[in-house]
């Protein structure tokens, strides 16, 4: 495995600095291309939202692209594009993040944009209203897809106490009711340097980059965040079921199990277990789901897809700050009853719960995951993402330990995780049953 030794752990040469205002800064020099990537992460996501305000984190993210005191609304367009750059952002359950990747000479511009975003966004009332309908359009576009709809309903049924239960996009009634003041207050509460991590990776000199960061962010005052009180989801006592019957052409099955959070001992055994069942997805939310997993020899693929019961099967466990779900998703082949697909899926789950897995299966899964780590570190954008992502849910230092933690997983740990986590009482089963489409 000589060449795998060169799969440079992403965090090997990271410079870390915490400014006086609490902003954590991570800089990694990479001189392979004349580019720089900046990510600014906030520890705020849909789990921080209260009832009546679901979707506010994501709506705030949208508003933070709409001009600031020093970037007038009509100057937003082109501000990074003139450097050949790309910018974007995303919101999920634990985090909100913003990114720019552009030529290295744009570093100062990227830092300026992020400092402005942290302090000076406008929240023009007309823009808030216009964005309300954009987000509702985003929600309705998602609902056009039965798979997305089922995912949302299943997640809501699987959690009864933890705020991971509501979708990041929010519930429609909340999106219709929230005001500009709700958005602005939320923005001011969470967008403070002591709640943020700024990551710079690329063709930069650490000293110069740090000096520029201090110039842009050093003067920003910290704030009181006022976190919600923590809630632990009560242990699930029995199987739950959700059945959607709507017009459509295709049947879908999902099974969600309460899963370990990233900090739990059996997170990595579950990651290996998922690779055994459905192929290794890797561990980079920004990159992993863009390429299909190697899954032709995975247990559920063999049983369900080669068995002609499903046209696709996918599993997913993602590193999260608190325990979320391990979700298995299948598309039934035309004519296959969902009961039969569910029975076959659960038979495979029971087999791994009862009999564990072979050493060869464990070795293959581990090798797949190690290869994915290499493939997913192929750009400065991906590397920067990983540092910020893990700092937001745990610690950036863990990025360099991912490989050894995957390699340390034993057959017995995977078997124990399967027996415990995939128990019937821990699952929520979702069916999308298509009704005939009206002419």
């Amino acid at each position: 495995m000589a060449t795998l030794e060169r799969s440079a752990p992403a965090a090997a040469h990271v410079h870390e600095e915490v400014l006086a205002n609490g902003l954590r800064v991570l800089i990694q020099e990479m001189h392979t291309t004349p580019l720089a990537s900046v990510w600014c992460w906030y520890r705020v996501g849909s789990k921080d939202e209260s009832s009546g305000q679901t979707g506010v984190s994501h709506w705030v993210e949208h508003m933070n692209f709409k001009g600031t005191t020093n970037i007038p609304r009509d100057k937003v367009k082109g501000i990074i594009e003139q450097f050949g750059g790309y910018w974007n952002g995303y919101t999920w359950i634990d985090q909100t993040t913003y990114t720019e990747t552009a030529t290295r000479d744009a570093l100062d511009r990227m830092l300026f944009i992020e400092a402005e975003r942290m302090t000076n966004c406008l929240y023009d009332p007309a823009d808030c209203e216009s964005e309300r309908t954009v987000i509702i359009s985003e929600l309705q576009g998602g609902e056009n897809d039965p798979d997305t709809l089922l995912d949302q309903e299943l997640t809501a049924a699987a959690f009864k106490a933890h705020p991971y239960r509501h979708p990041t996009i929010g519930w429609l009634a909340d999106l219709q009711a929230m005001t500009r003041e709700d958005l602005y207050a939320y923005y001011r509460r969470f967008y403070v340097p002591n709640n943020a991590t700024l990551v710079v990776v690329g063709d930069v000199e650490t000293k110069d980059a740090l000096r520029a960061v201090v110039r842009h962010f050093g003067h920003i005052a910290p704030g009181e965040i006022g976190r919600r009180l923590p809630t632990r989801e009560p242990e699930q006592l029995g199987e739950r079921r959700v059945t959607l019957r709507r017009e459509g052409t295709t049947a879908y099955l999902k099974i969600g199990y309460h899963a370990p959070g990233f900090g739990d001992a059996d997170f990595f055994p579950m990651l290996v277990l998922d690779a055994v069942l459905t192929g290794a997805k890797g561990i980079n939310l920004w990159a992993s789901f863009r390429t299909p997993p190697p899954q032709r020899s995975a247990r559920l693929y063999r049983a369900l897809v080669d068995g002609r019961l499903a046209s696709s099967v996918m599993g997913g466990i993602v590193p999260t700050a608190e325990p979320f779900l391990y979700m298995i998703s299948c598309t039934a082949t035309a004519g296959t009853p969902l009961a039969r697909l569910e029975e076959a899926t659960l038979a495979e789950i029971e087999a791994v719960r009862q009999h564990g897995l072979s050493a060869a299966e464990r070795d293959k899964a581990v090798h797949q995951l190690r290869a994915r780590l290499v493939f997913e570190n192929d750009s400065i954008t991906n590397i920067a993402h990983q540092l910020g992502y893990f700092e937001t849910i745990a610690s950036w230092r863990l990025v360099s330990t991912l490989r050894e933690r995957i390699e340390a997983v034993t057959v017995d740990q995977v078997a124990a995780a399967a027996a415990e986590r995939l128990a019937p009482r821990n699952r929520t089963v979702g069916w999308f049953e298509p009704l005939p489409v009206s002419p």
Binding site: T3, F65, Q295, R296, A334, H367
Partner: protein
Amino acid sequence: MTTAAHRGLAPSRATLDNGAVVIAKQSQTTPAVTLHAAIAAGVVFDPSDRPGIAHFLSRTIDRGTRTRPADAIAEELDRRGVSLAVTVNRHVVSLVCTCLVEDLDTILAVLADIVRHPIFPAEEVDTRRGEIITLIRQDEDNPATMASEGLLSDLYGAAHGYGRRTRGTIASVEGIDRSTLARFHQERCAPGSLSLVMVGDIEPAAAIDAAAAAFADWEAPLPPPAQLDPVPPQAGRRVRVIPMMNKAQADIAYGFTTIRRSDPTYYAHWLMNNILGQYSLGGRLGDSIRERQGMAYYVYSALDANVIPGPLIIRAGVNPANVDRAIASIDEELSKLAADGPTDQELAESKQFLIGSMPRHLETNVGIASFLQTVEFFGLGLDYDVRVPALLQAVRGEEVHEAARRTVDPGRATVVVAGPYSGQPA
């Protein structure tokens, strides 16, 4: 074997004696190599009465060879963490994967075997037929797909190589069996229709030698080029609604046929499209429909200048109550661009963006491989990455204006709306 190399990205290119083209580029960011094989066996080669063969081939070519059963291929790839993506577009079937350098020889041998010796086992063909039928059924429930495919069908005709559905119809797919696939493979897959790009941590000469070892003894006659019907003229405006009343949002696909990739006005059209529906959050269309009017989460335009005049497609997803207003806004933006052309500032910004974004597009192995396949397919030259900036810089405002006048006239637009909408837009 002949080789050539240039400055810039400076890939090495070799044509094997049997006609196969191999292009290699070294990049040392990760200890991995991306393999991207393209075979001229795309949807345009489907017989017009049997659509879906090329797509069916893409789903079955890697399901068993003379010497490797499907399970053995799956095992050889999976245990190295390699997922082979086989996709099809109008002109080519592409096989793309990334592997660790240490696995390159094995993966290249498997890839060559898949390309050269597939046997399409009956059992596998039956299984994948079921998957394809499920995919077609999913497409029929997807307003975005229905709108896009409906538009291409209306622009080119349902039987035309650019207008037919990639996956075919359930009836046609039910009629495709192993002998149909084997015949299609024999007719279309040959060294003369293959180009293989390899990008990663390997010396170009070694990469070309490895490719030669895998492909040089392949002998098969050169397949004939695609015979494509002329593009039907667009006389007036056409609007079609595909009601899908069980959905929450309507999808609009609005488009035109445009130009060939080899057309001298290609760079003017590229800039025109960027200004219209790409730059920043969707160009002028994004400014109007998303930013000012808040009607859509996504709106953009895409230009596909191709072997024959390809389409320019504008796409938007909107609430059904906003369909008429969104289409009127698209009309308005197109009319303005066709009447007045771009502003100097827009032109300068789009040039700067397209030129400046090249290092980003050429950062990863996968990105470089895809770029080099495009270069090879359209015969753009190995120094194309170096020449792009000057080609864009040379475009004048009036040329972009002329491209808009010639291409995006709302009076000749074809529009398809799919979703919970039963009106009849103008």
